[in-house]
Amino acid sequence: MLAFVLRRLFQSLIVMLAVALIAFTMFRFVGDPVNQMVGVDTPQEQVAQLRQTLGLDEPVIVQFARYIYNAARLEFGVSYQFRLPVISLLGERAPATLELAFMSALFSLLVGIPMGVYTALRRDSWLAKIFQTVSLVGISLPTFLIGILLIYLFSVTLGWLPSFGRGEVVKLGSWWTTGFLTGSGWKALILPSITLGLFQMTLIMRLVRAEMLEVLRTDYIKFARARGLRTRAIHFGHALKNTLVPVITIAGLQLGSIIAFAIITETVFQWPGMGLLFLKAVQQVDIPIMAAYLMLISFLFVSINLIVDLLYALVDPRLRATIGAH
């Protein structure tokens, strides 16, 4: 078990180093940082001096080591367009993205699981068929079109919900801002959360449906029926409980892609989060922000994958046995 943990940790470290190498290459070679900082008429000696103070004349490997050292201390340099440290720009916008991601994940679970259970239990009812069709459309429609559709319906036509921004936010502590404490904050969250969560919701619904159908065919369900348990107890006590393990795994793994897909939703709703910042960085080729965002997102992905793998090994004794056999 210890060997497995160590090997997984080592693999994650290698992945992070590879990502750091990509980020460093972008940072160092795509946009020359010195050219971005000096004007056209800066004298040549001054440019050389700046190059030296930034350490850009040292061997590349030394620069890479320093880049990693700085990244570990969350220092990602200064944004070209805002002239502010990248980490404070990202930190300021992180709460918006995290709250949005949390609400979308919640929405996709709370709606997706019941829909999946229903379509599995009442496979031939008309409502189940509607759910299935909706899920096909949900997978085919691009996220931004769903966002536009929702805005057109609920903001432009009906005027019920705001179409952009976070509403009123309350400051908690030194840097966290939350929209959960005001009415307008809650209202502003609804449309973006649905837009962002819809794809995951259809995914979870299809997964729960497939797993339920599988479990309902197993012997222990037949045996439970034979024992004369009530249908409700069989469906929810036995069947649903056993479908939830893969669902929770997938949901955990999808959390990373929710945060990545937030880029699109945040653009449609002008949500002041990290995704919108990243998109502006891509538009302006603001390399420090792009590199930092890449590193942060990768760290998130790698951590989630690592945790899920370790939990799996902990929960599933069969997996533990095969790991031991290696």
């Binding site: 931004f144 536009i148 880029i263 998109l279």
Partner: protein, 315 residues
Amino acid sequence: MSVQPASTPKPPPSLWARILDSDILASFLRSKVTMVAAVIVLVLFIGAFFSPWIAPTNPFDPATVFLSDANIPPAWQQGGDPKFILGTDDQGRDLYSAILYGLRVSLIVGLLGVALAATIGITLGLLAGYLGGRVDSLIMRIADVQLTFPAILIALLIDGIVRGIFKHANREDTALYVLVISIGLSFWVQYARTIRGSTLVERNKDYVQAARLVGLPAPLIMLRHVLPNVIGPVLVILTINLALAVITEATLSFLGVGLPPTQPSLGTLISIGNRYLFSGDWWIVTFPGVTLAVLVLAVNLLGDWLRDALNPRLR
């Protein structure tokens, strides 16, 4: 005078006859949804690639576009103009023509992107599967890492980097290539994994061993002997990936890092229309949006059917 042989051997059935006789055609004719999807895809492809002849106006010819025609509603609405069936956009371009031209741009980017992704993926998959060893583990580790990230994120990142490299070029000249490169580099993994898997199986079969014994060079064996035997499953991935590539292109253009408004794709048109949503000009965003959704849905349905039809276990 010609000598007639006593008995002519029966000629092998022509390609057309074999198609008519195949299971795939039968399963195609059995599924009504698939047939509708195929007709829609065909109509959209014809509309897109013959747009210069079909479209009533050339929306990119400044001589025929007048700003005074901007934001005219569709012909059946109050204030509509029969000259512009689906209305006009903010620069006075006929929306119907712009959609046909935009569809063409979207499809070209999608097809080229998928072709690039398939070429990269098939090459790397063949190399990994046939050569094995270090090459294999290097390529597959890169694929694993890339697979942990959503394709749209990778496409956005590559888009930013490529545009950083081409910084001094005119954006209108490079936009299309930037998109094709982004899509190609984001979607190659699936091809590589599929091809590698089947190459690993084929590599040990007798015909490959025989080719090796004869002394054929490895690239020739890979291309002429292994590739034709592993290419089958790629067809399904190609179809489903085309839908994904079109969505990715539209998303990037919508986000403002794809095609510029001077040569709009469907995504660019939607992005333009989105700005006029609040002033009640619903048609500028609706018609390109519906076109995109219908295209993606139809291609996906075709892909689903193809996957089932080619799956021997489901026959």
